[in-house]
């Protein structure tokens, strides 16, 4: 599992992907801004393509064991799962940031589930849909689902992919109402999907540069 993925993105392909993702999250930021009525900044400074094992290692290393994730499945030319992941301790902060901070703690705990689901949905939709749109492809996305657990449980969801998989790992920074919250977006794809993605990226690069 620690082996390097068989297909690697070129630097150019990664740059293109990073740009696409940033376009996606900036759209998400607009959506969130409309929703919470406050300035929202989102940015994805880096994109990395790692194996599932590496992804688990990175998360386990950097974050305390309790994590929270918003999970959505996407299907189409590229198929896989998208996860927006936060340390559990940050999730309440995120909810508080989004809801405005004046709500009592009890309310925030109650709201957490739905609020996380909706926020994650907005963010993931924007990212995936924007990428798909830019690549002239269509992805069908499921409704969001909130998961609690650790890196291992998040990356071992049933059913397991048939032919190995790869994780596109994005760091994401939120800045809402003077709070800075960092989390991750992980897109777990099987190898055919990744191959399709590289082709799509190449087409996109050709279009935009050519």
């Amino acid at each position: 599992m620690t082996a390097r993925p068989p297909v690697m993105l070129s630097e150019l392909q990664l740059d293109a992907l990073t740009e696409l993702v940033n376009i996606g999250v900036s759209k998400a930021a607009n959506s969130l801004r409309a929703m919470v009525g406050a300035q929202v900044h989102l940015s994805v400074p880096t994109v990395a393509l790692v194996s599932r094992g590496e992804a688990i290692g990175i998360l386990s290393e950097r974050e305390i064991k309790n994590l929270v994730a918003v999970h959505q499945v996407f299907e189409g030319d590229i198929t896989g799962r998208a996860l927006l992941i936060f340390p559990e301790t940050k999730s309440l902060e995120l909810v508080r940031a989004i809801t405005g901070g004046d709500l009592p703690l009890e309310d925030i705990i109650e709201l957490e589930q739905e609020a996380l689901a909706e926020t994650g949905n907005v963010l993931l939709n924007s990212c995936l849909a924007t990428i798909a749109n830019m690549l002239h492809r269509s992805l069908k996305m499921s409704l969001p689902e909130v998961l609690r657990g650790n890196a291992t449980t998040f990356f071992s969801l049933a059913p397991p992919p048939e032919a190995g998989d790869v994780v596109m790992f994005l760091y994401i920074d939120f800045a809402v109402r003077e709070r800075d919250i960092s989390g991750y977006i992980a897109m777990i794809m099987d190898l055919p999907s990744l191959t399709a993605l590289t082709h799509l990226l190449d087409e996109f690069i050709e279009r935009t540069t050519g």
Binding site: I64, G101, E106, A115, A117, A129, L139
Partner: protein, 777 residues
């Protein structure tokens, strides 16, 4: 899935407990089920082919609109909650209440020919239930937390503040907005301590012991807080609730106590140092001894004064270095000390290392079973006192010699005065007899006798004075006494001085020795005369006087009734300095030979002894008045002693012979005359040896009358003793000017012996002679 008939499918959609709207790619309604028609109040025909924005003008949320657009354009699904999106659509329940609802938007079909379905779920009931539950919880929670006097924080597992109660805001001075989301650790000064505490809270299911931490308030001041905390879990989240109890008061009290303690220690140290300093530098010997006198501690002064080191002194009593004469007394003092908690002062002498002795004055007190002693070395002081005593003795001796000189001169002066009176009278007597003018003879005779009596009294008094004998006070009428003195005073002061007597009326009697008072009066008159060398006036005044308490106290007397005898002159007066010293013995302003210096001091002593007082008032150049105050006496003066009649004296028997021995011819002649008058035969002898020859002969001698002091190496006593060898029953009468009893071995006349003091009255002599001869010697 089973293919349903279109009609059945539509019925199923209408029967759903959820709202369903299907929109075509232009967002126009192509499906609208009954549930939605009921909730929105818009029927399916009304909604048909219209967009949601048209159906709910101004009331469609932008979020829903965006989601629909995304679904149709991007093929994405959206979930919109009532929690984040108020009033997604204007929907009502069947009862007409506002309906809380969640919406999901899903795309249908494939791109680019997409439509979407909008599903609406009623969550009013569950939201309402949650709210009721929450409110109920909150009510309890608020009662405790919101009104708690302690600051209460709830932080999430990462330590960020999620909740702060009003006391917390008040205590730290932050607004809620400033606190929420901040790390709780930022509140405390000691982040290490807090970190340890925090880990302990997170790692242990049971809350750890409270810790005291200093928090920093918004205004920068510090606050002492006792922090207790426990963790709890809600919906999978770990929280920590911390209670911060204000212990500033307790802390301030503790701090004050600590300050007090530390300053107390400092003060005690200072005191101790002071005492130690005193102990070290004291010039006096300081020591602490047990109750039995064993020295426990001594200061360095011991070594300085006695030369013995503390090693020599400690652990035993100081008996070994005490002077043998002192040991017993010193032990006794220690025993007394052991008995009572009282301070004692005593002296002893202790031996120094070099062998000499130091005199020590001790002050010791028994406190708590220990003897605290201070000894001052008074050796030098003693030496000086001794030297002073010697010097004083020497001074007294020289003063005595001076006094004797004064006295001798003064006596000569006094006697001269008296002799003047006597010889003057005799001279006048001789003249009157020669002129055969017998009328005044008696007066001159009594004047001479009076002077002679006073001279006799003077010598008596001198003898009495030298022997410190007390004289015999009698009830005395002072007016009579003064009147009796008038002639003598006149003669004594001379013609240049006028003597005026002012007698007080109904004068009280007083208890006094009349002879002393006469002498005092004469003395005062002589002083007055001497103060008026160019003549003047003497006023003798008597009066009654009653002294009240203040007046009496002023003169150091008892209040009461007094007789005052005053002698005033118009003389030179006295300075204050002279008045101050006027009563000192031997003090005189007169030239040598003119005064004894005893006059006023004797008057003073006599007046005091008689229960009275002497006061002097004087003004330089104007005169002096001396007042003698004597206490009133209830008895009247007894009838004047009968003048013993020489003529009535007993006569001698036939042939009775008396041997008279005296070196003074006038005395011999006088005694012979008297004896002849009385019918005795008298044989005269001038000294002891010639008298002894007479005694050794067989001449009849009925009585030996002899002076005690005789020339020729044999005194009267010895003469009598030799005489008695041949005439064992010889009767002897000693006449002496000294009134000494030394002639008698046992201070008492032996059988057949008598003594008569010169001068004597002739009838006294006759009586004594008669008495002795008549006795059975």
């Amino acid at each position: 899935m089973i293919e349903l008939e279109r009609k059945l499918l539509l019925a199923a959609i209408d029967a759903l407990d959820a709202g369903v709207a299907v929109l075509d790619r232009d967002q126009r309604v192509i499906g609208w089920n009954d549930w939605l028609a009921s909730a929105s109040g818009v029927t399916a025909p009304q909604a048909d082919k219209r967009t949601l924005a048209e159906i709910f003008p101004g009331k469609l949320s932008t979020r829903l609109a965006a989601s629909i657009s995304e679904a149709l354009e991007l093929n994405s699904s959206s979930f919109l909650t009532h929690t984040l999106n108020r009033n997604l659509l204007p929907l009502r329940t069947r009862a007409g209440l506002e309906m809380l609802h969640n919406i999901s938007v899903r795309p249908l079909g494939t791109m680019p020919d997409l439509s979407c379905v909008v599903q609406i779920v009623d969550v009013t009931a569950s939201a309402h239930r949650e709210r009721v539950l929450r409110e109920r919880q909150n009510a309890r929670y608020d009662a405790v937390v919101e009104s708690a006097p302690d600051a209460i924080f709830t932080a999430d597992a990462s330590g960020l503040i999620q909740f702060a109660n009003p006391s917390a805001l008040r205590e730290l001075g932050f607004s809620k907005h400033e606190l929420i989301g901040r790390p709780l650790s930022a509140l405390f000064d000691d982040s290490t301590r807090w970190g340890e505490f925090w880990r302990e809270v997170l790692d242990n299911p049971s809350p750890p012991r409270a810790v005291e931490l200093v928090a920093r308030r918004a205004n920068g001041s510090s606050s002492y807080l006792e922090v207790s905390a426990s963790r709890w879990v809600s919906a999978g989240h770990v929280f920590v609730t911390a209670i911060l109890h204000d212990v500033n008061e307790r802390h301030a009290a503790e701090k004050a106590l600590r300050t007090l303690n530390s300053t107390l220690e400092l003060r005690v140290a200072e005191r101790t140092q002071e005492r130690d300093q005193v102990w070290q530098v004291s010039q006096d010997m300081l020591g602490v001894a047990s109750i039995n006198g064993v020295w426990i501690s001594v200061n360095p002064a011991w070594e300085r004064i006695l030369g013995w080191s503390s090693v020599d002194i400690l652990g035993k009593t100081s008996e070994w270095l005490e002077h043998p004469d002192d040991v017993r007394a010193f032990r006794a003092e220690f025993d007394r000390l052991a008995a009572a908690e009282k301070t004692f002062n005593f002296e002893n002498t202790m031996r120094t290392r070099s062998g000499d002795y130091r005199v020590l004055a001790w002050t010791a007190v028994n406190a708590d079973g220990l003897l605290y002693c201070v000894a001052r070395d008074i050796t030098e002081q003693r030496r000086q006192e001794d030297a002073l005593a010697k010097a004083e003795d020497a001074l007294r001796q020289s003063q005595k010699m001076e006094a004797v000189g004064q006295l001798t001169g003064g006596l000569a002066h006094d006697f001269n005065n008296l002799l003047t009176g006597i010889s003057g009278s005799l001279e006048l007597l001789q003249i009157r007899i020669a002129q055969a003018r017998y009328k005044d003879v008696d007066r001159y005779i009594s004047m001479a006798r009076g002077a002679a009596n006073r001279a006799a009294a003077l010598t008596h008094r001198l003898l009495a004075f030298s022997r410190r004998q007390t004289l015999d006070p009698k009830a005395t009428d002072i007016n009579r006494l003064v009147a009796g003195m008038q002639d003598l005073i006149n003669n004594t002061v001379g013609p240049a001085i006028e003597v005026k007597i002012v007698e007080g009326r109904s004068l009280w009697a007083t208890l006094v020795d009349p002879n002393q008072l006469e002498n005092a009066l004469l003395n005062l008159c002589i002083n007055a005369r001497d103060a008026m060398p160019d003549g003047g006036k003497i006023t003798i005044e008597t009066d009654n006087s009653t002294l009240n308490q203040p007046a009496a106290a002023e003169h150091e007397m008892k209040a009461g009734e007094y007789v005052v005898l005053s002698v005033s002159d118009t003389g030179t007066g006295m300075t204050d300095e002279v008045i101050q010293r006027a009563f000192d013995p031997f003090y005189t302003t007169k030239p040598l030979g003119q005064g004894t210096g005893l006059g006023l001091s004797m008057i003073y002593g006599f007046a005091k002894q008689s229960g009275g007082q002497v006061r002097i008032s004087s003004k330089l150049g104007v005169g002096t008045t001396v007042h003698i105050l004597l206490p009133r006496h209830d008895e009247r003066e007894s009838a004047a002693d009968d003048v013993e009649d020489f003529v009535a004296a007993p006569r001698a028997g036939a042939g009775e012979t008396v041997l008279i021995v005296d070196d003074e011819p006038s005395v011999r002649m006088l005694v012979t005359e008297v004896l002849a008058e009385l019918g005795y035969t008298a044989i005269e002898a001038a000294d002891g040896s010639s008298a002894l020859r007479v005694l050794q002969s067989d001449v009849r001698i009925d009585l030996l009358v002899t002076d005690v002091g005789l020339p020729g190496g044999m005194n009267g006593r010895q003469l009598a003793d030799f005489g008695r060898l041949d005439r064992p029953k010889l009767k002897v009468l000693f006449i002496t000017g000294y009134a000494e009893k030394s002639v008698f071995a046992k201070d008492r006349p032996e059988e057949g012996m008598g003594i008569l003091t010169k001068p004597f009255a002739m009838d006294s002599l006759a009586a004594r002679i008669k008495e002795l001869i008549a006795s059975n010697g």
